[in-house]
Amino acid sequence: MLRASLKSLLARKLRLLMSAVAVILGVAFVAGSFIFTDTLGRSFDGIMSSSVGDVVVRPAGSGDTLGSTQTIDGALVAKLAAAPGAARADGNIVDYTTFVVGKSGKLIGGQGAPGMAVNFTDGPAANNTSMFSLASGEMPTQDGQIALDAKTAKTGGYVVGDKVNVVTASAKAQVNPTLSGIIESSGSLVGASVVVWTTHEAQSLYLGGKDAFNDVWVTREDGTSQEQLRAAVAPLLPADLEAVTGDSAAEAAANQIQESLKFITYFLLIFAAVALVVGTFIIVNTFSILVAQRMRELALFRAIGASRRQVARSVLIEAFVVGLIGATLGLGLGIVLAIAIKALFGAIGLDLAGAELVLAPRTVVAAYVVGLVVTLLAAYLPARRAGKVPPVAAMRDDVTLTESSMHRRVLAGLALTALGAAALALGLLADVPKPVAFVGAGILGVLLGVALTSPVVGRPLIVGMGAIYRRLFGSVGVMAEENALRNPRRTAATASALMIGVALVSMMAVFGSSTKASINKEIEKNFKADYLVSNSIGSDFSTAVGDEVAKVDGVATVSRVRWGMGEVGDGQEWIAAIDPATFGQVATLDTSAEALANLDRGGLLLDADTATELGLKTGDKVRMKLSGKPFDATVAGTYAATAGSAPARYLLSTKTWDANGGKLSDGQVYVRLTDGADAAAVGSALDKIVADLPTVSVKDVAGYAEEQAKPINQMLMIIYALLGLAVVIAILGIINTLALSVIERTREIGLLRAVGLSRRQLRSMLRLESVVIALLGATLGVVLGVVFGMAIQRALADEGFSTLQIPWVQLVAFVLMAGIVGVLAAVWPGRRAAKLKILDAIGSE
């Protein structure tokens, strides 16, 4: 029996390949996700281990955040170097808001990747490694010189000796140092650019000229361990500094990054799951068709004495082989996919070029487990059905299987839909743990439920299209419609695979466009300024820009917003500083005059929800820390939390911010014009100020709204690209179903050709059938997607997603695209069918 089923499998290599396609794609997505995130993690690990010294002295607690603004006095460095077991100590300065502008005037990197700047020291990193090595030229030895990482220099078109255009958020917004050397990083920089200054110039740029550092690396002497050195250094430190060994600092940093990368892993795995669900549909469908086609063969097995179980097992063995082949090829394709995802992320700034792909054993295991389990599960039902073939079927000409009644199937589908809807409602509206899981399970439940009922639900749609076909295409149209209806399950399963992808894409389209509409509405309501000067990549820029802006004729008010991470109580929080006197003129902040007065006197303004959450009321004291010394801020009052109105949940006045060591750079500068000022003239004057600073731009309301929409559009593009794979699988499903149907209907096709159906008519018949399936899937998908999108928007209406906007044009475009997909999917099966020799076809069994 085993040999028989393997032989039958090998005899039909095409069939084998076609049923493996779905497995291959599903597994590829899982493997690709793992490979990509492992690669991502490894490339960070590489950087981390050489980005610490043997012992790192740093502001206490700063290991948790990037870019703490507290500094270390330069006098301490000499003391640390003298500690027992210390070979040397080097102070480091790191800044993440320094960008290089290429010779063409284009900003290098950006779009989320940090622009790193460090000072040059020749002190080694932990365990005598080095973060950078010199590739050409020399390290900066005097002010006015820099070194650049090789990729940035190459992208910018800079060679040693060139003047480089560097943009910083420091008091000097633009600097033009000479490139003295080019460095190579020991690991991938993940898209970041690196500028190396002399220590003196870094201090003057970033630390206001103080002899200070962000952290200090202490290098051990031979024979001293990291831990021994740490113990020797610790007593020398003031209370607000801490010493950690390089190994533990690197590990902690790596863990932290792994933790934040988990999001990407989960994100990708969700899409892998979608791909697998869609793939499962295709596999179930493929095996069902294959079993139907092999009825006589299977019945013959039964007639010559094979038991039900043996017949069922033979189908499962076939599934096992298909799963094995699918997993193997899928793993290979997954590597290709990981490269593609790498490129996709590279396109949005997370550049991993140079990072080698990591194929962990776990990835291989997952690929095979997923491939085999999914295939075997998908083949189980068809296999059971195969076992029920009566032996007598071998002797009959027209073998049909009685399938379980549609009635039960529809009931099960309805129940599943209801359950899914309930889970969705719970996740969105009720206070349940892990609401995302509820929402996900709910959506899956509804999708599967509708897929089960789709043979019935889809019928009116097919019949409706059939009426149009009949009119337009005559008997070819009639036959196409009848073919789509003759196996309602097959049509429905094929369409359902497409439905899932389209539903998710439509859901994201509805949600994305609602989000943009909500943001626009908020901006329209809250944005009272005439112009906003801001940094397109969300980092800060030099205060010199605001100074220049204030000098422009026609500018009445300049209101600055500063921001950064700082401590509130025990936690790290995003804190912003506003000017209480002017902020109200440029934006809407729903609060009392008294609170604003308190804010001006050094208070902390909270959004109402946060105040309730923390149990804080006006007059309470909160311990805060920016850089510099901790200070107690008095709660000035609360403001009503509506999205878009305030830059952070915690607001200080700019005065308080500056006095307590907040970073002296602006995040946003709002501009309001004098009455009667020529807005266009002022606008071009402002543009001139920021002309040399590619990171900074001037926007009016429309421009601001557009900029806010940009990351959403970008996110949507990524999600579309990833969901696109599910759609590709679904398309392959249509091709598969059609191709198998062509095989099944070989005699019929032969007959049609014999009585005069031309090849073109035959192809158009299949094309019409394919279009019906595609449109059915797309229509159901769009309807469900709109429902999901609306549900999510409604549930989040209080959290800023106040406006529902359904992108009808886009949704109609999805359906039309599905029609085109249908046309394309029929090309190959159509060609195969047209190639059939009439006599062979008629004579075939």
């Binding site: 009639v478 050709r753 005069g756 031309s758 090849r759 008629i842």
Partner: protein, 256 residues
């Protein structure tokens, strides 16, 4: 078109003919000569049977004559048109407009009703049926009650009669029937053969039928006997007995 049987003519109008038709399958040692230079005329308005033992080439002859299979050499004419060498699209049109087919089994598209099946060649061509002719054909076939049924709801005999009606409804120049009664019981066979006979007698249709059943051949005007890829004998006004006798002679001659 003539509506009554022509009186026995001395010279025949030719509906189709072959000239030195040769069909060879395979190459080298595996080469099989299915037809070894067959030249034969098919008379118009006659019911012709092609008979012969298995492997005699009778089906191949019909397939080549109908443009379903390509001849290795020789010529095939349908009326005055040489079909050997015609392009695929022209052949398709020819089959659609000038030829009717009845196969042994699987003659009907399962998703279409009897009526839709009958009208299929016309609707593929985008032509409207002549309602009078359609009514007459349906009436002759005796299927007016069952036009709305699908093939699975019809008996084997009824299915074959639907196939006959389909072949007839477009008034083709010639109908090729490949063992049309091969799968039927004797009663159904008789119905189908009587119908074919009538369509020749009453409508002047030209029909060529491949069969190995002497009693089926007895319904025809003329029987061509094939053996080893050649026409070896011919019989006019056959009866089951004369056909059987000729076949016995043939077998004897071949030493079987």
């Amino acid at each position: 078109m003539m509506s009554a049987a022509p009186s026995p003519p001395t010279t025949f109008e030719v509906a189709a003919r072959t000239e030195g038709l040769t069909k060879i399958y395979g190459k080298g040692d595996a080469q099989v000569v299915a037809l070894g230079g067959v030249s034969v005329d098919i008379h118009a308005h006659e019911f012709t049977a092609i008979m012969g033992p298995s492997g005699s080439g009778k089906s191949t002859l019909m397939h080549c004559a109908a443009g379903l299979d390509e001849a290795t050499s020789g010529k095939v004419f349908l009326g005055d048109v040489e079909i050997t060498g015609l392009k695929e699209n022209d052949l398709t049109r020819l089959r659609r407009d000038r030829i009717g087919f009845i196969f042994q089994a699987f003659n009907l598209i399962p998703t279409l009703t009897a009526k839709e099946n009958i009208l299929l060649p016309l609707s593929i061509a985008g032509r409207e049926p002549d309602p009078e002719w359609f009514a007459r054909v349906i009436d002759t076939v005796g299927l007016s009650e069952r036009l709305g049924h699908r093939p699975t709801e019809l008996s084997g005999g009824q299915q074959q009669r639907v196939a006959c009606a389909r072949a007839l409804v477009s008034r083709p120049a010639i109908i090729f029937a490949d063992e049309p009664t091969g799968n039927l019981d004797s009663k159904s066979s008789r119905e189908v053969l009587e119908f074919l006979r009538r369509s020749v007698t009453e409508f002047g249709q030209t029909i060529v039928m491949v069969t190995h059943d002497p009693s089926a051949a007895s319904y025809t005007d003329r029987v061509l006997f094939l053996a080893d890829g050649r026409v070896v004998d011919e019989l006019r006004e056959p009866t089951a007995e004369t056909v059987l006798e000729r076949m016995g002679r043939l077998d004897g001659a071949r030493g079987v």
